[in-house]
């Protein structure tokens, strides 16, 4: 029956095609463990869980069941890790036009094959929003495919080298792609380029350096090529600081980004994460300065209920009034089982703090949405 439900769920998502995607939770770092690699296979976090990650998935669920892939009914060989994520969302949107809508967000499977000593091949494949005019040819794609060498294959620390199609590690990597530091900070949804990365992860610090070029094999969502750097130091088990920099070039513009991150685990089981990114955009002789910031407070109300309160700020051009936007986000995550997450999302979005500029006030946006997430 459970298998039938999974097949029906996959079929339904495939039929409607994915439009949005969310990833891992940086809220768990410090709150549940020190590094992304303590729970995830990838040094960037997200996607496949390792053994410790599976235990965490079971531990934070209300009615914990077997957290392994397909409830351990299907056991791949030891050299192969499999997984996947299905997500869908429905809600009421007033942004500012009022409507009720729903759409699939993600239907992807992951495979990580160990092909040698410390050497592995990773593939993330699934449904994407098809391109107009080429729907049949573009409904499936591989968002990630890379070769990775890991210095200590059985440990979550050490040197990682990656080459292939993946998102450069840059900043806190919030799960929701609508968070301003993701949407306007150079790591938007489905913008993975081809790149090579050298990454070192230790319990006390981590450094990631990536050089990347635009994906020329498809009509990609990002046309930027460049370099990205991110370094994070954990001063204690409850406090971390990070710095980030990215320089990109495209046919139309050049961008330089620099930012800071901070995570602090406060008394009362509250994790506060902050990221601020400043961007310089050169378009011919014109130069635009932007700033994007996001503050996210998270608290586990119970072992299986997590509350997020987020504040976002983005100014698309610091020189002019009326172009900044502010977001207040409220997310409530419920983890009923090791594989299921139900999420309530709410956002209030203002333009220029709802002030009038030249006698004109920009509209207010808001939405209330429910999201369902099933991990294979």
């Amino acid at each position: 029956m459970r298998l039938l439900a999974i097949v029906v769920a996959i079929g339904a998502v495939v039929a409607f095609a994915g439009e949005r995607r969310a990833q891992a939770y940086p809220q768990f770092q410090l709150a549940r463990d020190q590094t992304c690699t303590n729970c995830h296979v990838s040094p960037a976090g997200g996607g496949l869980l390792n053994e410790n990650g599976l235990n965490v998935a079971e531990g934070i669920s209300q009615w914990g069941n077997k957290p392994e892939f397909m409830y351990k009914k299907l056991e791949p060989p030891s050299w192969l890790l499999l997984g996947g994520d299905l997500r869908a969302l429905a809600g009421f949107f007033a942004t500012p036009y009022r409507s009720v809508t729903g759409f699939p967000m993600q239907a992807e499977v992951y495979a990580n094959a160990i092909v040698g000593s410390g050497l592995s091949l990773h593939v993330t494949a699934g449904i994407r929003p098809p391109r107009h005019g080429s729907e049949a040819a573009t409904v499936f794609w591989s968002r990630e495919h890379y070769v990775m060498w890991q210095q200590h294959p059985d440990e979550p620390t050490g040197l990682y080298l990656r080459a292939g199609h993946f998102m450069p590690v840059f900043g806190l990597r919030f799960a929701e792609h609508e968070d301003y530091t993701r949407r306007f900070g150079g790591t938007g949804l489905d913008t993975e380029p081809y790149g090579i990365a050298a990454e070192y992860v230790d319990q006390a610090y981590e450094v990631h350096a990536t050089g990347f070029v635009r994906d020329r094999l498809i009509q990609a969502a990002s046309v930027d090529s460049g370099v990205a750097l991110y370094a994070e130091v954990r001063a204690s088990t409850d406090l971390s600081f990070g710095a980030e920099a990215m320089a990109t070039v495209s046919k139309d513009d050049q961008k330089q980004r620099a930012g800071l991150t901070n995570k602090i685990f406060l008394p009362g089981d509250v994790l506060l994460q902050t990221e601020v990114i400043g961007t310089r955009v050169a378009i011919g002789t014109e130069v635009v300065h932007q700033i994007a910031g996001y503050v996210l407070g998270s608290r586990f109300l119970t072992d299986w209920l997590m509350l997020d309160l987020g504040l976002g700020y983005f100014d698309e051009n610091l020189r002019y009034q009326g172009l900044d936007r502010e977001a207040l986000d409220l997310n409530l995550h419920w983890f009923p089982t090791s594989h299921v997450e139900l999420l309530f999302d709410a956002r209030l979005e203002l333009i220029d703090f709802h002030q009038a500029v030249n006698g004109v006030t920009s509209p207010v946006g808001a939405y209330l949405a429910f999201q369902a997430h099933y991990r294979l």
């Binding site: 949107f93 098809p130 489905d190 635009v288 503050v295 504040l311 700020y313 698309e316 051009n317 703090f353």
Partner: protein, 170 residues
């Protein structure tokens, strides 16, 4: 909390209310269209929802000349000098209860848009099709919205320059 205070302060303290941003296709594309309309799942080159892509200058020009048929382009751009009755304005400013006989879908879909950016797009569109500037080289004329000077840009597109308060368009 300090960050919040800083961010709020920035929001209230920074910037000028005189909008003299360039009305060029490159500027409008990279500062407004790409960030507001061209997320991957929308009007990006990746998905090209309804055939429209607004993430690069080439994509915008392709969209305007290849994907949008001449009558629609004419309605969107050439006749857009009379807001709020023209289609682009309707798309960007449509609200529940407004007459919508053509079933236009309000945009942007996922978040509000600064009114200053709506105005910028309408003025850019009203200046004519990108690449279609027909002014003589070096010629400058008074243009859209009264206090403005217009000339041809490097890409042979209309460039809009706001005349400072108290200045003369001529």
């Amino acid at each position: 909390m300090k960050w919040l205070v800083l961010l709020v302060s920035l929001g209230f303290a920074c910037g000028t209310s005189t909008d003299d941003r360039p009305r060029t296709t490159a500027y409008v594309t990279k500062t407004v269209l790409a960030q507001t309309c061209a997320e991957a799942q929308c009007h990006s080159s990746f998905v090209q929802k309804h055939g429209y892509a607004f993430d690069t200058v080439d994509a915008v020009k392709h969209t305007l000349f290849a994907e949008i048929t001449a009558p629609v382009r004419s309605a969107l751009i050439s006749e857009s000098t009379a807001p709020p009755d023209q289609p682009l304005s309707n798309v960007l400013r449509l609200r529940n209860g407004d007459p919508n006989p053509d079933g236009i879908k309000a945009m942007p879909y996922d978040s509000p848009m600064p009114e200053a950016d709506v105005e910028l797009l309408l003025e850019w569109a009203a200046l004519g099709e990108p690449g279609a500037c027909e002014l003589a080289p070096g010629a400058t004329v008074c243009g859209f919205a009264g206090a403005a000077r217009v000339h041809c840009g490097d890409d042979h597109e209309y460039v809009f320059e706001t005349v400072p308060t108290g200045g003369s368009c001529e």
